[in-house]
């Protein structure tokens, strides 16, 4: 009679264990990032070019801001498919408001800018509020709500512009803000770094962050502990919408026109950045500094593919595979660590 001996999964080859322990110490993502940068510096001289660095910095800044919003929503256990649509809508509304204001009173540049920015941020605020309220009060699945609002916001953006870019924003907004270089770096870098710090503080040092994590971890527990779960759910979605709007303002200011097709792939990339950063789709887990790293990683990766003249269509395929692979690896690691802990 032989015994049924099922080998515990945690028994791995010693060499592999060493590598994996080293990786765990630094973290998988930073290691990957460093490898990528070293490879690029060694083999692709154009990577270190001033223009290219600026480009990467701008792209990763935009992605970081959307992704940190997306992360907040992922942490409360939802997701937001409408960030792309919000970016488009904000762009169009901001440009339109500024253009109309300027037409009325050409000398009141400041007022036009303030009004435009406020209107733009309002778009994100309202969409986020609707998303959050539907999820919190009506208990509608976030997937369907944001799919719906995404359709609505895109429709409004197209309706406002008929698909034609909106010009006529003040130079002060475009040249002195959108395309500005401060202390040797493009302006969006500073904005995104401030957002990073703010979100980090919020996550780590305030009750807001703690409640958002608690809701994602165990709603029931948060509720009986007296956390106003509906409020914080709505807050997470609203912040996500507003951060998407902020991204849109930066992009619009740089582009110099409001476009209903602006978002490109940012919705997918924001989710990808979150997922690669280890934000759990089940909620409760996610750190903004990791999201920042993965936003940087994705931007550099895209940049590398551009430099290597990889067709943009194929890049899309690649992005799709990366997202699925990241989650699959995460699941595997979780299964592994579970059996290791239990064994």
């Amino acid at each position: 009679m032989t015994t049924v001996a099922i080998e515990p999964a945690s028994v791995a080859q010693p060499k592999l264990a060493l590598v994996s322990r080293a990786l765990r110490r630094i973290g998988f993502l930073p290691a990957l990032l460093i490898v990528l940068i070293v490879l690029l510096v060694l083999f692709e001289p154009r990577f270190m070019g001033m223009f290219n660095i600026f480009n990467v910095a701008r792209n990763s800044s935009a992605l970081l801001i959307v992704a940190s919003g997306q992360m907040l929503v992922l942490v409360v256990g939802g997701f937001d498919l409408s960030v792309g649509a919000v970016i488009a809508l904000t762009s169009v509304v901001t440009a339109k408001v500024m253009a109309v204001m300027l037409e009325g009173a050409p000398e009141d540049v400041t007022l036009a800018i303030i009004a435009g920015v406020a209107a733009g941020m309002g778009c994100g605020f309202v969409t986020g509020l609707i998303n959050g309220a539907c999820v919190a009060f009506l208990r509608i699945s976030p997937f369907m709500v944001t799919l719906g609002t995404s359709s609505i916001a895109t429709g409004v953006a197209l309706l406002l512009t008929n698909g034609i870019p909106v010009y006529g924003m003040p130079d002060a907004f475009v040249k002195d803000f959108g395309r500005a270089i401060w202390f040797g770096l493009p302006m969006p870098v500073y904005v995104s770094l401030s957002i990073l710090v703010l979100v980090w503080i919020m996550q780590r040092r305030t009750t807001v962050g703690r409640y958002i994590h608690a809701i994602g971890g165990n709603v029931q527990a948060a509720m009986v502990s007296g956390v106003n779960t509906n409020f914080y759910l709505i807050l997470a979605y609203t912040l996500c919408g507003m951060l998407a709007s902020l991204t849109s303002l930066l992009l619009t200011a740089r582009l110099g026109s409001g476009q209903a097709t602006m978002s490109g792939n940012l919705m997918l990339e924001s989710i990808a950045a979150g997922v690669i950063a280890g934000v759990s789709l089940r909620g409760g887990v996610g750190r903004v500094e990791m999201v920042a790293l993965s936003a940087l990683f994705l931007s550099i990766l895209t940049n590398a593919m551009n430099l290597l003249k990889v067709n943009s269509k194929i890049q899309t395929i690649f992005m799709g595979i990366i997202v699925v692979a990241a989650v699959a690896l995460d699941e595997l690691a979780k299964r592994r660590s579970r059996s290791a802990r239990e064994g």
């Binding site: 009679m1 049924v4 305030t206 971890g217 165990n218 029931q220 007296g226 409760g284 064994g343």
Partner: protein, 540 residues
């Protein structure tokens, strides 16, 4: 001393005001005519209940008697449909869990209200963080957490993630959480179920201190020994009604049990004729990958009920789950009908005539949105009686399932309504129907009477009798001691992942079983940790 006055958010002011108003009023809590209806069940039927300052009031009753509904009403989880709720002399309407906590009502439920991804101290302060303009004062909270834990005498590290703690430790976190602020009314729902004896003694000492300070304590328990030890008064609930409230020193254990069951105990449990025959299932030295079962050996014979008793989290449920192929096995042998099996998978087990009936029927047993018919035939779709290859024989299915449903006395005896519309007892019958839909010889029952009423319980027992007569082997895992005591022919006792005793004949009695629970408990046996993720996850 305990409870420390909480300097947070005006809680202190509130209690002061209340104190001056109510100090001389005898009752802390007074409920009159409370009723609560859930779909298909009247969970509470016109219940009166009161709690004095500084008393331990035990709620006693079977599962499904309405105890948990009552404490949930008091904790503000949901409101009653009717009735008056007086707390410290004031009428309370539309109580929320948060309000309840602010007013000093602290519940400790069996399903923990903890966030597994957060640390112990983060969980302790959840919802009432020390903060200024939303900025957290982490250091103060951690210090306070250490202080509280030390005062309680618990062995807990405030920086550990709750998800990585054992069930016993999670229970301690939950208790610490309830006592963190100024508590006036403490609700404890079977707090000792997962504690060791040493920890239990500490808890009782704590209860005494709280009682001395005038805190009212509602204590839900099944365990006769501890009830007699700590209770001032006892209220017995049965089928949603309050049967009696008595002083603890004026009633005997037998009387209590009879009040609970509503009849003589012999009537509640049918007489079972055990005719033990050959071994159908034999497990040798089974150890699970999760460590929740270690080196367990037992066997189950045709024609008898083999009981397995043990505290919550002792591994008894994991044991039979592993036999059915649900929890990964690390080492050991399982023999079916004398032959060794190697394929631990539900499909293979069902084919071999082994069926497992889960304790959590909503989570694991039933597809609530689907009709009774589909739920009963679910585990038999590979049989030629139900499907020819891939094609389902719907007419035969209907007939067979209708027969089974009639035999089980399902009410209503219809096979098309969605299972979600049925009451707990009827849902259990649907799950049990699976055992009749195909030829099963080994029945693994995991807490088969949890959450069902007395009538349905009897029917479940009768069904077991019937199965025995048909020559089946029944393994009965239950946390309800009377159940395993009265029904088992042989009773195994599990404790801390190990099989510690096999009792037969006259040895099957409460004292013998309890002795096993508390035998080899070292003072800090809590370090023998079993991950309790499932417990936390199911609370989510």
């Amino acid at each position: 001393m305990f409870p420390a006055p909480a300097p947070s958010r005006g809680g202190g002011r509130f209690t002061e005001a209340v104190n001056s108003m109510n100090e001389h009023d005898g009752n802390l809590l007074e409920l009159t005519g409370i009723s609560k209806r859930f779909p298909g069940v009247l969970a509470l039927d016109n219940v009166d209940f009161d709690l004095r300052h500084g008393e331990v009031h035990v709620l006693f009753g079977e599962n499904g008697a309405g105890k948990s509904t009552l404490i949930n009403v008091i904790a503000g989880t949901f409101g009653p449909d009717s009735g008056r709720f007086l707390y410290q002399g004031r009428e309370i309407r539309k109580l929320t869990p948060h309000q309840a906590r602010v007013m000093g009502i602290s519940p400790v439920f069996q399903e923990f209200s903890l966030v597994p991804e957060m640390t112990v101290d983060e969980n302790l302060f959840l919802g009432r963080e020390r903060s200024r303009f939303t900025f957290l004062n982490k250091r103060a909270m951690r210090a306070k957490a250490r202080e509280v834990i030390a005062e309680l005498g618990f062995n807990l590290d405030p920086t550990r993630k709750v998800g990585s703690l054992s069930r016993a430790h999670q229970q301690m976190v939950e208790i610490a959480k309830a006592l963190l602020t100024d508590v006036r009314l403490l609700i404890l729902d079977e707090p000792t179920a997962s504690l060791t004896e040493a920890e239990t003694i500490k808890l009782f000492a704590l209860i005494d201190r709280l009682r001395a300070q005038g805190v009212g304590i509602i204590y839900v328990s099944h365990r006769m020994g501890e009830i007699k030890q700590i209770a001032d008064r006892i209220s017995v609930l049965r089928d949603g009604r309050k049967i009696a409230t008595v002083r603890s020193d004026e009633i005997s254990e037998t009387e209590l049990v009879e009040l609970m069951a509503g009849r003589k105990i012999e009537v509640l449990f049918p007489h079972v004729d055990h005719r033990p025959a050959e071994d159908l299932l034999e497990v040798r030295n089974l150890t699970l990958a999760s460590g929740s079962v270690k080196d367990v050996t037992f066997h189950a014979r045709a024609g008898e009920i083999t009981g397995i008793a043990g505290l919550v989290g002792c591994g008894k449920s994991e044991l039979i789950r592993a036999v059915f192929g649900l929890d990964p096995v690390e080492s050991g042998t399982v023999l079916l009908y004398g032959k060794e099996t190697s394929s631990f998978k539900p499909t293979a087990m069902l084919r071999a005539g082994v069926c497992y009936f889960p304790s959590d029927r909503v989570a694991e047993g039933l597809a609530l949105a689907r009709p009774v018919r589909e739920n009963v035939s679910m585990a038999a779709l590979d049989l030629p009686e139900f499907a020819k290859g891939q094609v389902i024989r719907r007419k035969e299915e209907k007939k067979t399932i209708q027969d089974i449903v009639d035999r089980l006395k399902l009410r209503p005896p219809q096979i098309e309504p969605a299972v979600g519309r049925l009451s707990g007892g009827n849902r259990q019958k649907v799950v049990l129907g699976r055992g009749l839909a195909r030829e099963i010889r080994v029945f693994l029952f995991d807490e088969p009477t949890v959450g069902i009423d007395v009538g349905a319980k009897l029917e479940v027992y009768e069904l077991m009798k019937l199965l025995l007569e048909m020559g089946a082997a029944i393994v009965l895992v239950s946390s309800e001691l009377p159940e395993v005591l009265h029904l088992s022919n042989r009773l195994y006792v599990m404790h801390h992942a190990r099989m510690v005793a096999e009792l037969t004949g006259q040895d099957i009695n409460e004292q013998a079983v309890l002795a096993c629970f508390f035998r080899e408990d070292a003072p800090n046996a809590g370090s023998d940790e079993v991950p309790a993720e499932r417990a936390v996850a199911s609370a989510a």
